[in-house]
C-alpha cells in the first residue's frame, strides 16, 4: 500500500523547485558541468551519488568531444565525401549523446525518481545546464 501510495504521488506531485547545475568552463569550452553539490538537494540525495552522476556525465561528454585518431578520421572522411557521409552514418558525438540519454533515464529510474527528483537531459537545455526538478515530498508532510 505504501509503495502504491508513493507511485501515485509521483504521478501528480507539484513541482517544488528546480535546481540548475551550471557549466564548468575552467578547462575551456568543452562540455563539463560543475560537481558542486547544491544545498537544495541536501535532504534528498546522497552527495556522493550526485557527484558520481555528474562526473559520469562529464566523462561521457569528454568522450564525445575527444580529439584523437578516431575523430580526425571521421572528420577527414566527412571532408572527402563533402559531408554527405553523415546522411547515412551517425557521428560519434550523436552516438555518445544517445548513450547519455540512456544513462540519465537509468539514473532517474534507479536513484532520482524514488527520491522525488528528476534529471533533465542537458541536450534539452542546449547543453547549458543540468536541470533537476524537485517534486514535493508528501511523505515528509511538507504539502501545500
Amino acid at each position: 500500500m505504501a509503495e502504491t501510495h508513493s507511485l501515485q504521488e509521483l504521478q501528480t506531485p507539484p513541482v517544488s523547485s528546480k535546481v540548475f547545475i551550471q557549466r564548468d568552463y575552467t578547462s575551456g569550452t568543452i562540455c563539463r558541468f560543475q560537481t558542486k553539490f547544491p544545498s537544495e538537494l541536501e535532504n534528498r540525495v546522497d552527495k556522493q551519488q550526485f557527484e558520481d552522476t555528474i562526473q559520469t556525465l562529464n566523462n561521457l561528454y569528454a568522450e564525445a568531444e575527444k580529439l584523437g585518431g578516431r575523430s580526425y578520421l571521421e572528420g577527414c572522411l566527412a571532408c572527402l565525401t563533402a559531408y554527405t557521409v553523415f546522411l547515412c552514418l551517425e557521428t560519434h558525438y550523436e552516438k555518445v549523446l544517445k548513450k547519455i540519454s540512456r544513462f540519465i533515464k537509468d539514473q532517474n529510474e534507479k536513484i532520482y525518481a524514488p527520491r522525488g527528483l528528476l534529471l533533465t537531459d542537458p541536450i534539452e537545455r542546449g547543453l547549458r545546464v543540468v536541470e533537476i526538478t524537485i517534486f514535493e515530498d508528501r511523505g515528509v508532510g511538507s504539502g501545500r
Binding site: A64, L97, I123
Partner: protein
C-alpha cells in the same frame, strides 16, 4: 489522500490525460478531439524565436536575411559556366583533358561547401527557459546584494589560467558561454561566433566554420585556376592572331578582383585557424595586449598549430542544440505557442501533462 488526485478530473481536460488509455481507434467523440489536437502538434522550428527561415519541415535552416548570397551564387555559376562552355573546349584541344576535370572537381567542392555553410545551423544556442532565466535573475540579485565589485550582468571565470568575462545576454536571458556572441542580424546567440557573413547569408560559428573555411580556400583555388586558364587561353589565341574573346573579359575581371580578396581572406582565416581565434576576437583584440599589467593569452589555443588546425577542421562535429524537428510539449499547443519552453506549472494539471509529454521514465500511467 485520494481527494488530492480526484480534483484533477481527466475528463474535463481538453488534452489527453494520462489516465485515459491511448485510443488510436478514436471511436469515442471525446477521445477524437484530443486525437485531432495531438495531430496538430507543432514542431519547435515553427515557434523558433530567432530570425531564421526553415525548409523541409525544419531540416534546413537559413538566416532570414540572405544578404548577397544570390550574388555569390550568381558570380560562381556564371563565371564557371563561361569557363566550361568557352575555355574548356579550347584548352582540352590545345593542352590537356585535365583542365575541365580539375575545374569540375573544384567547382563541385565550392558549391557543396557554400551550401553547407549557408544551410547549417552555425551553433545557435536555444534561449533560456523561464525557470532558468528566473534562477539566473535570482543569482544576479544575490550577487548585487553581496556587494561584489564586478557589474551584476557579468561573470568572471578562469579558463586555463586566463580570466574571461562572461556577459549576460538580455535577449536570450542567460550568461553567454565563452566565445559565444549574439548576432544582431539573426537575433541568436551563436557558439564560437566568428562573424555574420552576408556573402553566404548566415552566421559563421562553431558548427559551420570548417565549411566556411573550406569554401573560401576552395574558392581561392577555383578562382585562381579559372584566372590561369583564361589567361592561358587568351595568350594562345593572341599567338594564333585571334581577336574575338569578349566572353573572357567578364571572366578575367571577376577572377582578377576575386582572387585578391578571396586569397587574402583565406590567408587571414588560415592564421585564425592556426592560432585558434575567431574573427570576432581578432577584431576586438581579445587576446592581444595586456589586461591589468598582465599579458593576455588565448586560453583556447592548444599551443600547437597542427593541433589547432586539426581540432577546428577535423574535430568532432557538435550536434545542433536547437532541436528544430522536436515536437512542442502538448500544453504549448494549447497555449499561444510562443517560443520558449515549459513554464513552471501553477496547477497540478499542467504538471501532469508536462510529465507525460517529457518524462516517460516516471511511472505515470495508472492504466498501464
Amino acid at each position: 489522500m485520494k481527494n488530492d488526485y480526484q480534483q484533477i478530473d481527466p475528463k474535463t481536460l481538453p488534452m489527453p490525460a494520462p489516465s485515459h488509455p491511448p485510443a488510436p481507434r478514436g471511436g469515442d467523440q471525446e477521445e477524437r478531439q484530443p486525437q485531432e489536437q495531438r495531430r496538430k502538434a507543432r514542431r519547435k522550428w515553427q515557434v523558433f524565436p530567432g530570425r531564421n527561415r526553415f525548409f523541409c519541415d525544419g531540416r534546413i535552416i537559413l538566416a532570414r536575411k540572405s544578404g548577397v548570397l544570390p550574388l555569390t551564387l550568381g558570380l560562381i555559376l556564371v563565371t564557371s559556366g563561361l569557363f566550361f562552355v568557352f575555355d574548356c573546349p579550347f584548352l582540352v584541344q590545345h593542352l590537356t583533358m585535365c583542365v575541365p576535370v580539375i575545374g569540375g572537381v573544384l567547382f563541385v567542392f565550392v558549391l557543396i561547401t557554400l551550401l553547407q555553410t549557408t544551410l547549417t545551423d552555425p551553433g545557435i544556442l536555444p534561449r533560456a527557459t523561464p525557470d532558468e532565466a528566473a534562477d539566473i535573475e535570482k543569482q544576479i540579485d544575490e550577487s548585487r546584494n553581496g556587494g561584489y565589485q564586478s557589474p551584476p550582468r557579468t561573470r568572471e571565470v578562469e579558463i586555463n589560467g586566463q580570466v574571461v568575462k562572461l556577459k549576460y545576454c538580455p535577449t536570450c536571458k542567460m550568461f553567454r558561454p565563452p566565445r559565444t556572441s549574439h548576432c544582431r542580424v539573426c537575433d541568436n546567440c551563436v557558439e564560437r561566433f566568428d562573424h555574420h557573413c552576408p556573402w553566404v547569408g548566415n552566421c559563421v560559428g562553431k558548427r559551420n566554420y570548417r565549411f566556411f573555411y573550406f569554401f573560401i580556400v576552395s574558392l581561392s583555388f577555383h578562382t585562381a585556376f579559372i584566372f590561369g586558364c583564361v589567361t592561358t587561353h587568351l595568350a594562345l589565341m593572341i599567338q594564333e592572331h585571334e581577336t574575338s574573346f569578349s566572353h573572357m573579359d567578364l571572366e578575367l575581371v571577376v577572377c582578377f578582383f576575386s582572387v585578391w580578396s578571396i586569397v587574402g581572406l583565406s590567408g587571414f582565416h588560415t592564421y585564425l585557424v592556426a592560432s585558434n581565434r575567431t574573427t570576432n576576437e581578432d577584431i576586438k583584440g581579445s587576446w592581444s595586449g595586456k589586461s591589468g599589467g598582465e599579458p593576455v593569452t588565448n586560453p583556447y589555443s592548444h599551443r600547437n598549430i597542427c593541433k589547432n588546425c586539426c581540432s577546428i577542421l577535423c574535430g568532432p562535429m557538435p550536434p545542433s542544440l536547437i532541436d528544430r524537428r522536436g515536437f512542442l510539449p502538448e500544453d504549448e499547443c494549447v497555449q499561444t505557442g510562443d517560443g520558449g519552453d515549459i513554464e513552471l506549472p501553477v496547477l497540478t494539471t499542467k504538471n501532469e501533462i508536462n510529465m507525460v509529454g517529457k518524462h516517460p521514465c516516471l511511472p505515470l500511467h495508472p492504466a498501464v
